[in-house]
């Protein structure tokens, strides 16, 4: 499926294709807390290089995932995407706001509203779902505000720094 729209303008955010400079900005603002939000170690050494961010952006572009870079105040702050399953007419949602200055201020909710409208109205999907680490309370609240409902908790689904952690499954249907 072709990406039907390449940019979307919200109140404070612009969703647009990746461009030159995004990988640099993504590597610059990266913090270990970001890795932890995705179920990675909170304490391990090492941080992504510009090259690794660029390598990450390319496959996202090639995979057929509908994705956008998130821009606010004229700068790259993260990315968002929906990976469509054509047979199921559904998609998996994922978002990463890399810049900590934009956490906890409703940016994720604004992005979700734009992307959900795109998924349901432009792509005609009937369901959008996601999986989030149970301890990522801020993200869960954002998804709930955006209309996602909790569908389940996968107990001890993955390990972080030696501790087993739960995953939460959430989804929103078109009529919701």
């Amino acid at each position: 499926m072709q990406q039907l729209v390449t940019t979307m303008q919200g109140e404070r955010v612009l969703l647009r294709p990746f461009q030159e400079g995004d990988a640099e900005e993504s590597a610059r603002v990266w913090t270990p807390e970001l890795r932890h939000m995705y179920g990675g170690s909170a304490t391990a050494a090492g941080r992504p290089t510009v090259e690794s961010r660029r390598r990450r952006n390319e496959p996202i572009t090639a995979s057929g995932e509908h994705h956008f870079a998130i821009e606010a105040d004229g700068r790259y702050i993260g990315f968002v995407g929906v990976k469509v399953n054509d047979e199921e007419q559904s998609a998996r949602y994922r978002i990463g706001i890399a810049n900590p200055n934009y956490w906890g201020r409703g940016y994720g909710t604004e992005v979700a509203r734009l992307v959900l409208r795109y998924a349901f109205e432009t792509l005609g999907l009937h369901r959008v779902h996601l999986k989030v680490a149970a301890y990522n309370v801020r993200a869960r609240r954002c998804y709930e505000k955006s209309g996602f409902r909790v569908e389940g908790v996968l107990r001890q689904s993955f390990q972080v720094d030696g501790e087993w952690q739960d995953d939460v499954l959430m989804a929103i249907l078109r009529e919701e």
Partner: protein, 178 residues
Amino acid sequence: MSDAQVRLRPHTEADLPNYVTWLNDPEVTQFTQIESGGITLEGEREWFARVSAPDSNTRNWAIEVDGRHIGNCALHLDETGQVGGFGIIIGDKAQWCKGYGTAALREVLRIGFGEMNLQRIHLTALALNARGIRCYEKCGFRHEGLQRRQHLKRGKWCDVVCMGILREEWEADQCSNS
């Protein structure tokens, strides 16, 4: 029926013609997330090569009852090798409702927790698969979620049930059963 009749063995290429027959039977796949039709021996051979490769994270077993091949089951490990996803099909329809699936699953749990040292085994099932879900409950799986209208089955949206069992729960079951 005793569990002793049911045996798991690594599946082989010689099992593939049975898979083709079973998976192309709409009655066999009616409660599964696989759809019948278009399953070929060629396709199954490719799949077999993939899951048999040294870097494969899947373990497949043929289910035998008194030496007769009646179905297949598998564990798909995640990238850490500590969490496994379970799948099963009893293809020989004459052998349905005899508790063989339950016996096979108990053996997979023993291998998964007892030998492979997994922490968690989980599965998904169509909500309309009442018999399967009862079997999973009997074996100690707990309901963890309901994915609403997740799967399109023969033109109808179906809810998908998520279930899981943890190592501690399985170990506790072993104590209370013995």
